[in-house]
């Protein structure tokens, strides 16, 4: 069987399958932005955007842009019916106060304890935090969407972070182009695996020893 890494879109689609109607979800930049495209019409998901939008809708069409209604990447968006605005302190009260059900974030490194690095490359002087630390710390569940290894092949799922930390013990699940991995108290549990890959293939590019779920499946997307 061919080994087929998931595309960015397929990773997003796989994550969308794990969202439930009613979830309040914060979406980070990168692959996470694609997730909302794959949420089915039978789910009512409420998107939180850090600058004070709860119930963020689709990107604004030409002509309906308002410079005062933007997403976290400063692109013009819309508000869905039922949406509301808050000031930044209250918006982050939502994030820090454990009111957001799921944060879907990109990752540079994730440790076997669920520590996350995603805000600054190692060795760089100037980085931007934005809402990353508050949201990673505060969301009820943190899902990481990323490629399993970096462009130049570096392992990203590691025993200990050596990139600058975003938040400790915050990640619940890691969705990569190769696997779905759950962070549990006793370690990383391999739950699903991309079509054509073996457990050994995944372990080879994953530093901590993986626990193999008894119900290991192929990723369906």
């Amino acid at each position: 069987m061919d080994k087929r890494l998931l595309t960015r879109e397929q990773i997003a689609k796989r994550i969308a399958n794990d969202l439930q109607s009613g979830d309040i979800v914060n979406i980070g930049i990168g692959i996470p932005v694609l997730v909302s495209n794959y949420v089915g019409p039978d789910a009512e998901i409420i998107y939180h955007s850090e600058q004070g939008v709860l119930g963020m809708g689709k990107k604004a069409k030409p002509g309906e842009e308002d410079p005062d209604l933007v997403n976290a990447s400063k692109e013009p968006v819309t508000l869905v019916p039922g949406g509301s605005y808050s000031h930044s302190a209250d918006s982050f009260a939502m994030a820090r106060g454990k009111h957001i059900d799921v944060a879907i974030l990109g990752g540079m490194q994730v440790s076997e304890k669920g520590d996350l690095a995603n805000w600054k490359v190692k060795g760089v002087k100037l980085g931007s935090i934005g809402g990353a630390m508050d949201i990673a710390n505060g969301a009820k569940k943190v899902f990481i969407a990323m490629t399993h290894t970096s462009k130049n092949g570096d392992i990203k799922i590691v025993k200990e972070l050596d990139f600058p930390v975003t938040a400790l013990r915050c990640v619940n699940r890691i969705y990569t182009d190769m696997a779905v991995i759950e962070v549990q108290r006793d370690g990383l549990v391999l739950k699903e695996i991309a079509s054509g890959f073996s457990v050994e293939d995944v372990q080879k590019v994953t530093e901590p020893k993986l626990i193999i779920d008894e119900d290991l499946k192929e990723i369906q997307v």
Partner: protein, 224 residues
């Protein structure tokens, strides 16, 4: 499509799962913004050993005074326990049947907001040099003496609002707002008693005071 629907059919259904020993935040200042019908439903339900947070202890036998009268509340965190008409609390307190944590009103509101906001504790000048400071850490910041106050959260919050939709978005009526928005943030399960339920999208997004993210259950008052 599985729509979000936080609306409960009755006050009784909305409080049915509250177990003995729960902590509950009760909105209201005096009689303004008090979730009277939810409180009556809780009285019928019978949960006891409740740890209550409320600015006032209720008046006559109304509001939480009724719960206190029936020995359902074992501890009250409160800023104004001793009003003339709060005789139920006073009597139970003198009999040793209820504990009191006395908190300045602003500190109470801020501790509750902190509880809902991922703030575990804060330093504030209110209470320095008073009996409220007893046992609390004192520290100066920029020459301002402060004491350390800790976050308050509740297993439940009983909120009174004017309008809600099925997402739990809320608007209030005048100073009936008071403690309700902060308590909505700090309740693990926040139950809103409202005068009116409207369709999603009817509330102006600029004017929603408590976004639905902070509300888990909504019930319409019978007004009886």
């Amino acid at each position: 499509m599985k729509l979000i629907n936080k609306i409960y059919d009755s006050m009784d259904a909305a409080v049915a799962d509250i177990s003995d020993g729960s902590s509950i935040l009760f909105g209201g200042f005096g009689g303004a913004g008090v979730a009277y019908e939810l409180i009556l439903a809780l009285h019928r339900q019978g949960a006891k050993n409740i740890s209550a947070v409320s600015n006032n202890p209720g008046y006559h036998e109304e509001g939480i005074a009724k719960l206190i009268a029936y020995d359902r509340i074992s501890k009250l965190t409160c800023s104004f326990p001793n009003a003339k008409d709060s005789y139920v609390f006073r009597q139970k307190f003198e009999e040793g049947k209820i504990d009191l944590e006395l908190v300045p009103q602003g500190t109470l509101a801020e501790r509750i907001r902190a509880g809902g906001s991922g703030i575990e504790a804060f330093f504030t000048p209110t209470g320095v040099g008073t009996e409220i400071a007893a046992g609390k850490e004192e520290r100066e910041f920029n020459g301002i003496p402060c004491i350390l106050e800790k976050a308050i959260r509740g297993d439940y919050a009983f909120i009174k609002a004017k309008k809600a939709d099925r997402w739990g978005n809320l608007v209030y009526n005048k100073s009936g707002r008071n403690f309700n928005p902060a308590m909505a943030m700090a309740g693990k399960i926040t139950i809103a008693e409202v005068d009116e339920i409207v369709e999603v999208g009817e509330l102006d997004p600029e004017t929603i005071v408590t976004p639905g993210i902070f509300v888990q259950r909504v019930v319409k008052r019978s007004g009886l």
